[in-house]
Subunit: 340 residues, 2 copies
DNA sequence: TTGAAAGCGCTAACAA
DNA sequence: TTGTTAGCGCTTTCAA
């Protein structure tokens, strides 16, 4: 059978209790003892049984990942970033795609949490913006971290990426290329992140002395198809913008498609930019100028915070040390404004 | 606190053991007793604690997902398909991306399994082809299902998608468009699925009376970059193929990029096709003709089989009823051969 | 700083 | 058909 805490205790000549303390990184263990026990643990390749631990401590060492429908690459990056930290600290990650429009959506998430007694959950945007969900989870006594683009909660409960500053970079980039008539395809206005990106972009443009009229801003739904619809609208008039920025890469891809249909050459006649740096961005022709967030880092940080919260009081807190700064990636789809 | 088996036992006037029997659908419980207990269970809204059950019965009600590096969309689809069935049957899904080239790769997977006492794992291609891994998992006493393109194991342990027949469709499609000089960018030859697709394609072409010379077949590495390298090679000679088929969409995207660089118009001067139907395929310009596998269904089926295996003998087996047939998706990137 | 003993909620032998 | 008695492997009172 597998090696248990008893084996470790016997071999290291201490009690179960002390081994338990070592496992749980309690500071009240003598340095010599700790090292001896750690060595035995290592030699025996012991790892504590999660179910037993959970049963005894009413914890599960399981973290949940709740998301609605961001793109697959984003989810994949989150999972990798989260698991990096999880596996280091003996946690496992349980996934839960959900339907935020479903009527029993919150109940469904709560059931997910209680079914496996999750120690905490990470909530991805855009579900992360759902205030009722966060409140319900909190009331259920479960820890959570919301990934977001704005402070929408206690600072402890969020990992925020400064998307506003990213859009500022984008604005500066386009203005420096000479663009003065720029169209913007926003995400749905009921998402705070959409507003954040839009406002960040618009106000940065203004700071650069470029104004964007309200009919140059169109609300999309973040889908490829809606990107097409919005870009068609932006490019339908006699005077066309020389650049279009979209709230995400999917819609930017839609804009590229429209440009293609209209035989507008990108970036010569029209610059296009997105947000996300998903797999599409580097593969599509022309490749897409876009914003890349450090998604894996954000997820790692979220897990660290989560584990910190659910750790017993006498264990040492982890240090949280990763920067969350998005980066502008310039590719082929943006270029100098040409006179027209 | 939550209601436990003891509460149920007390209220229904039987022993814990009997309640346990009812929970586990043991046939050796009197009909009257069973009904009484079930009523109490219902009234109390009791649901047994997974950790306690697991600790006592050495099961976890957790399934694992092991994968190396297929594209993110594929993973996302697998997760959704798997979770559909999992959540219906009270199981949870734990994810585990891994590095199949790492030296301790198998140990790492085994540790993943034992850490959480997984009841079973689903292994995605291409790791699923690793025979040593499957053997090790089996020996560790864990159930597994390998998603694959060929029968590489006991039929019970695999969910197979007939990729050979898909490539036959592809071949027929291209031949019907008049193509006679076709290039093929294969995946690494050490993957069985690569060979399966390649051989399926080549032999189907032959059946259609079209031969493909060996210098028209180039081994890629499934990456976008290697697609570029291989396509450049195929298109470097004085006589160019009129169509290029790649082992996956990523490499096909590379081929599109090369065509673009060479100012070859697709599909007028060159047809290109991929395999996967990933997110790229429908967004790229021109959109990509490719093969779509019913990935979600395959994952659902895998979970059903897995749970069937790990269920106690006296519970009803699930019926497994989904078809696993890939489909050819024709888009813009393939068209009639033009004389040259 | 350390240890002894009592469970956590459930299932599994073995009786009855 | 049912109940009794032990655990599963760990954490947690409480003492020392």
């Amino acid at each position: 059978m597998a090696v248990t805490i008893n084996d470790v205790a016997k071999l290291s000549g201490v009690s179960k209790r002390t081994v338990s303390r070592v496992i749980n990184r309690s500071p009240s263990v003598g340095e010599a003892t700790r090292e001896r026990v750690l060595k035995i643990i290592h030699d025996l390749n012991f790892s504590p049984d999660k179910q037993a631990r959970g049963l005894a401590s009413s914890r599960s060492y399981l973290l949940g990942l709740i998301y609605d429908n961001p793109d697959a690459l984003y989810i994949d990056q989150v999972q990798r970033g989260a698991l990096d930290v999880c596996s280091e600290l003996g946690y496992e990650l349980v996934v839960h795609p959900c339907q935020s429009k479903a009527i029993d959506f919150i109940a469904d998430c709560l059931s997910f949490i209680s079914r496996s007694k999750l120690d905490g959950v990470i909530i991805l945007p855009p579900v992360s913006e759902n205030k009722a969900l966060a409140a319900a989870i909190c009331q259920a006594g479960c820890h959570y971290i919301r990934l977001a683009s704005v402070d929408l909660d206690d600072h402890q409960n969020t990992v925020v990426c400064d998307e506003r500053s990213a859009m500022k970079e984008m604005a500066t980039h386009l203005v420096s290329l000479g663009h003065k008539d720029i169209g913007f395809i926003s995400g749905p206005h009921y998402f705070k992140s959409s507003m954040e990106r839009m406002e960040g972009f618009v106000s940065a443009l203004e700071e650069c002395g470029v104004n964007i009229s309200s009919n140059r801003i169109i609300e999309g739904r973040n889908s490829y198809e809606s990107g097409i619809v919005c870009a068609e609208q932006l490019l339908s008039g006699p005077v066309k913008p020389t650049a279009i920025v979209a709230n995400n890469d999917e819609m930017a891809a839609g804009a590229l498609r429209v440009a293609h249909n209209l035989k507008l050459s990108v970036p010569d006649q029209l610059s296009v930019a997105g947000f996300d740096d998903n797999i599409l961005a580097s593969r599509i022709i022309p490749s897409l100028t876009t914003i890349c967030r450090p998604v894996e880092n954000m997820a790692s940080l979220a897990v660290q915070k989560l584990i910190n919260m659910s750790q017993s009081d006498d264990s040492m807190p982890l240090k949280l040390t990763k920067a969350i700064t998005p980066v502008l990636i310039c590719r082929e789809s943006t270029g100098k404004r040409t006179e027209n």
